[in-house]
Symmetry: C2
Subunit: 244 residues, 2 copies
Amino acid sequence: MITKNQIKFVRALQLKKNRDTHNCFVVEGEKMLEEILQSDFNVIEIFATKTWDFSKVKAIEVHKVSEKELGRISALKTPNKVIAIIEKPRRCLQISTIKNGFTLALDDIKNPGNLGTIIRNCDWFGVKNIICSKNSVDVYNPKVIQATMGSISRVNVYYNDIENVIEKLGNEFPIYGTFMDGENISAFNLEKNALLVMGNESFGISEKVSRLINKKIAIKRKQIGAESLNVAIATSILLYEFNR
Amino acid sequence: MITKNQIKFVRALQLKKNRDTHNCFVVEGEKMLEEILQSDFNVIEIFATKTWDFSKVKAIEVHKVSEKELGRISALKTPNKVIAIIEKPRRCLQISTIKNGFTLALDDIKNPGNLGTIIRNCDWFGVKNIICSKNSVDVYNPKVIQATMGSISRVNVYYNDIENVIEKLGNEFPIYGTFMDGENISAFNLEKNALLVMGNESFGISEKVSRLINKKIAIKRKQIGAESLNVAIATSILLYEFNR
């Protein structure tokens, strides 16, 4: 059974302002929840149909609902057995952590599918931390969550002022960014401890951040005519090359 | 002005069976059409609002329509100035062409966005020819066309039986395919004249095609947990590596 208030509450979490107010977000589907349960996310409440394996959770409030009821709170066309409400984690990224590893910074990524896919790529290539500029799409947007295919449980996403972060890293630290006239990454000796900045889908890296990039790189195109690579595609190629 | 019959006809082309019957497809938007006009595609008919630059075409039937009328024939949420009907090209891919270059084969790709993005990637990395298995999504599906961002005008897509093609290429010709237990591409000496097979989003390369692959490769993951890369992402990394 699900009450009208519960339906209203779960649906409201499709909007960022409500996720911010209540400090929680929604994940859907059996596999997604399984990965969340194995992570350090805090699961608050679960709504599941009778076909779900209820033995998977203890000490969490679980509501058994009908498929019709699940459909009423789902953002998906074909809801899949279970929907859970998860607490947004409180995380803080230390400058020393950035200095001792590889971090991705996303400067105003707007498309939820792109952010989700980039998180999935980071998971594959072992990138633990992503810094999003404050105007980027919200990582707890249901479309982002779905596109991560569960990788959200293994990659940490922070919202911060990228300019500020770079300034704290100091002049010596390698800050990579892609530019049409950058140096070909295939011929470049890429450093393992670095920050890689990727820009907005339409406008690339913002001017104020561009000024702070000390290693301008490019994925060289072979064919005249092709105008650009999608940002999730470009990110995956760069992560591959940084991991080579 | 646009007639009811014209509206019905353009809308009907959203379905493959109608595109097959009439041997044509639809492109939308100013930039897309510009690239099509520069290619060897044959533009049959154009519907454009008064803000479109009509001097761009000669000897093609152009209908001036209102924005509301354009909205009625568009498959997009926000139609952009112009919609055109294009003849499907008749193309035939020679075995000798495959033998003397790099060709991509897609074994049952089902998602239109993936096919469109892969075409865009091929354009960037100079891959001219793609062979799709006969059950793959139709390249003239409006969602595929939009996702190519104009690259459809520079990359040729053929539908064929991949098994048959590989058998004609002979045992010596390198046929690459990705498998979880394949060899790490970073450490592999990739041949430039080759066929690269990418598999279906859920099931990978089909069994009958798998048997014919003589170079099993993999993009190595760094992190345990991550389950897979999206097929368009994996393709882009491989195309990058083949072009290194």
